[in-house]
Symmetry: D4
Subunit: 149 residues, 8 copies
């Protein structure tokens, strides 16, 4: 069983690397957004030309990033969405809703301080994990039935 996993959300810590490293023997195919914050913000104008208005500057970039996000989520069996401690992170919640509507399995990764504001997102998920290691353990169990310890 080859699992396709999309890693959505926070891009300022190394949680993706922790998961892909921890799961490297499982044959999982991982995808995710472009995690270079500057490139992600500016890709639209860098390729298609500058905009005077920041609103359209952002729009051009977001639409190009959406090509990658859509492809990644639609091909995923599992979508992991990480909520960090900073920023609004509405794109992470948007991805979670998008994935839920497509019937994807969801794992939400966040600290307990966000339990209440994330309750609707968590309620659509198969698991709420607290650490990247827990995500790896879930993937390992799903793939080969092995539990930690």
């Amino acid at each position: 069983m080859t699992l396709h996993v999309y890693l959505s959300g926070e891009i300022h810590t190394d949680w993706r690397e922790q998961i892909t490293t921890g799961a490297q023997d499982l044959g999982v195919i991982f995808t995710g957004p472009v995690t270079d914050h500057g490139a992600s913000d500016d890709c639209g104008v860098a390729i298609l030309g500058a905009e005077d208005n920041k609103f359209w500057h952002d729009r051009k970039g977001a639409l190009i990033n959406a090509i990658r996000t859509r492809k990644g989520i639609e091909e995923a069996d599992v979508v992991v969405v990480r909520f960090g401690t900073e920023y609004k992170q509405w794109n992470a919640a948007f991805d979670a809703g998008y994935a839920a509507a497509l019937g994807k399995s969801l794992i939400i990764l966040h600290g307990r301080e966000h339990d209440h504001p994330l309750k609707e997102v968590d309620a659509a998920a198969n698991a709420v994990a607290r650490t990247p290691q827990e995500v790896v353990q879930i993937l390992r169990y799903v793939i080969d039935g092995t539990l930690p310890g």
Copy 2:
């Protein structure tokens, strides 16, 4: 043409009333979540019994609220999502993603200060409105072709 419109998001100001009042001659069928914050938080335990653990207290409520949200969004032609100035509002962004994946027309309603963090959500939308009146004007134009002024 009878338009079904789901009003998602912020529940602490009267934006829903402004829209439904402003559009009252248009024959729109409006739906939305339960907007009594306390009832929305506690519906699960109030009906199905208390939980010691707040996490499951929240889960029981969120799953019951999801019955109404799913029905409302799936039957909607247009989903309006309002982001206010307070709270995390991840459920609003989740609804937007859910609606986008179902191919619903989206109108996002928010102030300019949220333009950048909402750029991915806005990029999936048919319109970004700044006031409830603009939402009413869009509905009016879509239904009968009349523009303001």
Copy 3:
């Protein structure tokens, strides 16, 4: 908001009547299977002719009953599945799985003694209720936001 609710499962107690009576002011459209056990078992041969082999006797009936079940579940917003204390009730669990795959909201109604064997079914549900009254309270809350008491 007019809710369509399919009442699946156990046919030997009056739980359906308790729900439809309790919810009679809510404008819900209730559907369900034919609950006359004898008619349900024999409809195939009664209409299409006797079978020597009980297996095909059952098949003819089950296929006719499936016309009603499919129509009811596919048009439902919410599917309530009741597990009683007797019989195998595999058709109830089948309906639950069918409804889950179609993305219907599910309410499972059963006693605590069945919590463990029903854990996979419950995990696909929006609520696990213990009494018909709780089902009515959920429907009432979903429709008009009113909580009991």
Copy 4:
């Protein structure tokens, strides 16, 4: 023609091994649930932390198992569901309903003593087999047209 077959249901006898061994020359890709009963029951708390309440202990495990089940059934061409002589086996019937709603080909494997309570499930199936050998013979015929004997 490479057939994907999901083997759902009873986990206490060696019926899966009989099928996979008997079909080993056919190039079938078999999947199925985790069949270690203890691991399957406890995976949720083993990975995500203990629960005081057995109901939520079960829920956490069932939701993680559902990741594997959903992936397996959605990618399957044929879902084989085995009903044994013990336990409630509602998860097996749930899987059958889920697969039926997705339009999967179904083979139900059970003894004659369950013909009547399984009549609705059998009526949704392409075949009702009595032994793992019959399942192998069906797969062989579907793949290369060869009949037994």
Copy 5:
């Protein structure tokens, strides 16, 4: 429960009238093809202009008739397909396959002499009826649970 029933197939006997008359108290909404053989054959050229080539004469008519057939089948809960004793009736079998792929409930109506050549069509059906009266009895039972006699 309002059932939508499409009556497909043979157009040279009064079987449709027998069904609609027999079911007139059931509130069923019946649809079906244009049953005027000449109009059905010639509608394309009568409206859109003559064709020298009979092949395109037929094509123009068949494509216009398909508008009605598609609408009728897609809105139907149940598709009844009648095979008579004459003609090739490939359009009837085509309708049955079309309806089956859309997940519609099927009732096939034909004499025993066609059991063998119709076995694949019958296998996709919920019932094989021999007379219009049996079709009426099935509809009556599905709608209100009443059996004949």
Copy 6:
């Protein structure tokens, strides 16, 4: 049978009125785009504020018009697309492709001089009509089986 018909394409002649007038006894529900050229071009900036850049001026309007177009086409049984003698009319062809992908019945209305460049569009259609009267005749025949003359 109530037919829903979306009238797409050219907005500078009275072809829509000819069809709706000619079909006024048929109970058809007609929808279509806003046909006030100026309003259609400027709706975005009129409601949501001016843009310096004509490209985004157009974008804001096109996205609002898309709410109406999507609703109309998705609810239609038949989409009629009119190609006139002037302008690029790419939005008409876009609507035709959109409708074709959704499996809608298509009627394309255009003069013979456009037969060759419209061959791919026509090949996806149920009928190629030359006059609004032919469209009315098709709708009449589809609804009640009556042919002209």
Copy 7:
């Protein structure tokens, strides 16, 4: 571009071999039903046990054959349906309707004497071919743009 082609219909002449041989350099993946008439008729009882009633004998076989047919058609890009000069061939027309409803490209292969009774089937097709060689030429053109001669 790897094309998947399902070859449905008549099993008494060598048309399938003519196509697969003629197209052997094109990398097409061909599938089709079991073409051993006796095996196809008797597979159900040969594997699952004899039936006294020929109707159920046929049913058991048809349901097993449907596993292969469904898999083949659902994975196909193109479904070729051959109508020969003998037999009722309702299963061929059923396959054509099934494929049409799934949006598959259809090529119908038959002699001119069947043009009129096949007009509804042909109208759903991308091509009506008269010989297996024409089918090969279509596949060749679709894959690499080469025309005969």
Copy 8:
């Protein structure tokens, strides 16, 4: 991440070669229509026999070309549609609408002089590019996050 890209539209300049050459290190799988204008126009009659009427001559060809177009668009992650300076190009706009309805990511490639007539098409797109090089840059960024310069 392997991206499937369909290149639709104008066939008289070398824009496809510029894109496939520029992207040759990205592992993209490109497809597109037959670009030999004469073959594309005449494929129907060349294979299936001449037609007296040019309308049906075109129809036969367009239906065969549609097999390739449908396959290409349905398997694509991204559909690039090029509008050139000549011809009606309604098939290009039709492809864009077809792709949009299937939820494909769209890149529209055209000069500024067509901004206004293409505004509805552009509004459904993820990017409006002016040169083949910009298309390559978008694909490169989507696949590996690299921006030009």
